[in-house]
Symmetry: D2
Subunit: 337 residues, 4 copies
């Protein structure tokens, strides 16, 4: 099979990164088209990345017969509509998380994907492609840590990006939906199980602005999973040290910690601060390779007629769980699944 | 004032350690008497530590006018009775945790302490005397981490001592009362606040034996404190790597982690296992210095007419909270305080 | 300019890696030809990587007008001859280290490069392209650590590959030339200075086989540089924990350590070995990204008419220094440069 | 035997610490006398520590029949004279390092000790009593790291105490004699071998003041030991991060690193500096317990009629080696032992 020709919609920070990866780093792929409503950015990036076809209209892009697949990196509220349209137009689809902003949207996306089983659909839970997570996953699957006892996950954004977070608050869906979805996906992936109950607390410790949206700047949830594994999630937007995504899986025979020090690289600095490691700035830096490996798998699946590892059902289920966490947080009640 | 003459009851592992510390390491103190029902051990240790007065009967010991203070390191169910008797006999009292095994017992102890305000009473929450906890505490009090957001505490005993834990299960009161009391004390100490609600889960992941006592081998609790701080406690008896007591305090401006690697000492080993730190074996090793500093404070308080940092109310309150955690665990319900 | 068409000679482990990178990961490059004396491997890899032109004769490959540049990853003794021939044939040249096996060879290579100043020549000191080394380098250049005081570098191969090292011993040139060249390059790069004197010791601590070649299984050298910086190099072939390349730069105002724990990834394992990090296996794993970035710079230099960061003079100078270290080791004398 | 009655001379920082330890922490010992030329300090500390006998004249102190042993913590130039006098007066002697300031002095001390074999003599190489060094030592003796290949030791004083170091420079004997003696002792202890050759370099990187005394602010030495072990010592006075005493022993089967992060305690701080460990301030903080254990051994040896682990010959030999390092540094030559 020839190169997979990809059209990508959305030129925000992550959309641009995906476009660059497809253009430069993904084997057997070609960045064939770009789409964005910002025409200036569209022209600039198309020129820079050598893309001949560019569109301000998503439907126009998917009408192009020379495009095999689309990357959807548009605002979350557009995801499910674009997924269905692209599949109907005969394209393979990669969509960024979240799958949709409501369960209903997600269910519609699921129907669309089910109606086009010959097409590859993949959801962007890139952490599964990070080499450290994969390494840990293999150990867990090999039984090296025994039975899972506690799954603990932190997702913390740096305080220094708080203004952006506040500006985005009305659209983010709240921390559980915006940030914890990755951890919920990992919890399901690592434990192979589903939640039974959830209690969630938190609040606005530094930034009351989030309160307007029934959200907090730091929140957590404790869930009991069906296999009895305890799952503790913490998400925060005020990390003083950097972008901190940290996961611990305590098993009966061993414990794995992934990125317990969110070190940027292998340099250790000894100065008046003591002995220290500088930290990752953001998700693009921390998951640089994971984004490449994820896109590569998408392309490989298309070429090899395989299904992707991350399914539409994962997206639906994760959003259901995140929504329940959010509801638990808002009501202060213990909820059952 | 002359040396404080101390009589100590209980010659189990920790009782023996306290006796040795008093005999050898505590300034201005004298190990004046020992008490235990095991007469052979009593004679042996009295000889070894140069103690002339030894008793198999606690009441006989406290009748000795030459004793100023007692250390109570007997089985938990005896604590409150001995506390009251010793205070009534005019002695200062140090009692190991837990204060008692029921709230009623604890309230009685509280009454006894209140009735003898001229005597020093101290409860053995030794972690507060560990240099790392004290260092962290000073930073928190100095405002270096801002407002507390999440307090996370792990207390894990090594799997290799599981047989002892199983044998002790009928008397331990369960993990919340046996193990989490220290973390509950730390949570109150560091946050200066009290719990409002608790949800607790866990189970028998490796050792069904604990199920007989409505206990688990690994449990956790998520509490909301009145100052809105999230408090997550995890206790386990199956740690593969050693004795792991770890605390994290996430604040709005900084984060502190105490003993996130429970390293035995400063030696790093590079061998076929990679780059590794060997871990503490047990609480006596981890808190060796804390036990000394705690006993020293008790003696200093007596000599200087001061109150100890850890009060009988701390003991009552901690047991109430641990009991509520246990009830939450047993019922599966969200409980309010 | 169109894609740079590259012919690569040598299909050993590293040669294959370079070929794969050029074929798959380097932008604006094309793997246009392969060359190796092992015809079976040549055919197999050419097919696998989609390379149409393959040669068992290097001269035949460089006679191909459709090739713009060559990668030389052949046995070290062939490097300088192939460099000169390729340059004479009008090709840009990337050569793996060492530049040559004797100073005379290196000088010939230097002459060839000087005679073809319109061509890009680059030597494979890939560590300079590792993100951690680059990050440290920027800090040093920015003056963050003040004046360099001590440069310490370790290069250790794992004991588990000792059989290969013994088999390769007759051809390796010894540890200083085979392993320390990278550290010598880094020392010159970081300090911007050159050695004045050297004392070198070591021996066969575990494997007497190296003695036959006047080499050791572990050696070290202490050099005084002209700017007075102390430079300590240690190279070993018996590392119990993995592939350990570690560098420390002590300055008057700060200290940087690069990879003081040669951790494979961000996973920390807590098990009966304590708290541990598993280590890198070999240079291909440790410097995976550096090999890509290095090749990318070579291609970019060609396309943009720039000189590469690593020059032929670096290669000559590093070999001179390594040779002097070797001589110091063999004679036991303090040598001046 | 009754308590060992100790008279201590010298009330500088370390002398005071020893006095406090003897008064408060050493079992079976009594601080019976103090001696210092500063009468005000002498009176103050004697009162504070409850010492009834105090002297401004060392000979007066050792004439006191009620004193069994002396601690010599006076200026280095006085050590050997006081050692001989005290032994002649029938006292057991503990002397701080260095044994003396010249080889001749040391030889005299050795003679004095040899002439009083019934007395315990101990030299203050306290690092041997640090629990991490002892733990490492046991592993080495048990063969866990195989044959020693490289012994690397750093002793770095913090830049923030540089003024004191400059003031003390005329009397320090230089970094090799003042600082490296501990590392030389450790090298001999861990390897069980003696040096054959030494090359030493360094200089004044930040503080030219040391040049007046033919010393540097940072120096190093590379020695070949008779068992072929490579020994690399580095000493510096400009550490930006704190007091850094770090040792690595690379063996054919394993590697041990002691205090590769000179962390003050178990607290990890996550803030704008990244993830960091604060460091020890000085030797009194780092070796707090070692000083106690060392003094305890001295007392135990006296009571049990044993020899101490650290002998006068260790002191002589270490000073000879340090002197040779110094000579190598001053001449720039490779020296043989």
């Amino acid at each position: 099979m020839n190169k997979v020709r990809i059209g990508s919609v959305g030129l925000g920070r992550l959309g641009l990164r995906h476009a660059e990866n497809i253009a430069n780093k993904i084997q057997n792929a070609e960045l064939a088209a770009l789409c964005d409503i910002n025409e200036a950015a569209l022209r600039e990036q198309s020129a820079r990345l050598g893309v001949k076809n560019y569109y301000t209209d998503f439907n126009a892009m998917i009408a192009n017969k020379d495009i095999d697949a689309v990357f959807i990196v548009s605002p979350s509220a557009l995801h499910t509509g674009q997924i269905a349209a692209a599949l109907d137009a005969g394209k393979h689809v990669f969509s960024e998380k979240p799958l949709g902003t409501t369960i209903e949207e997600c269910k519609n996306a699921e129907k669309a994907v089910m109606a086009h089983k010959d097409k590859v659909f993949m959801l962007g839970f890139m952490r599964r492609f990070d080499e450290s997570y994969r390494y840990a996953y293999k150990k867990v699957m090999a039984g090296e840590i025994g039975k899972p006892v506690l799954f603990r996950a932190y997702s913390q954004d740096p305080e220094k990006f708080i203004e952006g977070a506040i500006a985005f608050a009305p659209h983010s869906g709240g921390e559980f939906i915006d940030m914890c979805v990755h951890d919920i996906d990992l919890a399901r992936w690592f434990t192979g199980s589903e939640p039974q109950s959830v209690y969630a607390i938190g609040g606005c410790y530094a930034h009351p602005e989030f309160g307007k949206y029934a959200d907090g700047d730091n929140v957590c949830a404790l869930m009991k999973f069906k296999n009895n594994c305890m799952v503790f999630l913490f998400a925060g937007r005020t990390a003083p040290h950097g972008y901190n995504v940290e996961t611990e899986i305590i098993g009966t025979k061993g414990i794995l910690r992934i990125a317990s020090v969110p070190q940027k690289n292998l340099v250790e600095v000894l100065d008046s601060g003591g002995v220290r490691r500088e930290c990752h700035e953001n998700f693009l830096e921390r998951f640089e390779n994971a984004y490449v490996l994820e896109a590569q798998q998408f392309v490989d699946c298309i070429r090899e007629g395989r299904k992707s590892e991350v399914t539409v059902q994962d997206g639906v289920r994760v959003l259901e769980i995140a929504g329940k966490c959010k509801q638990a947080f808002e009501t202060g009640e213990l909820l059952k699944f």
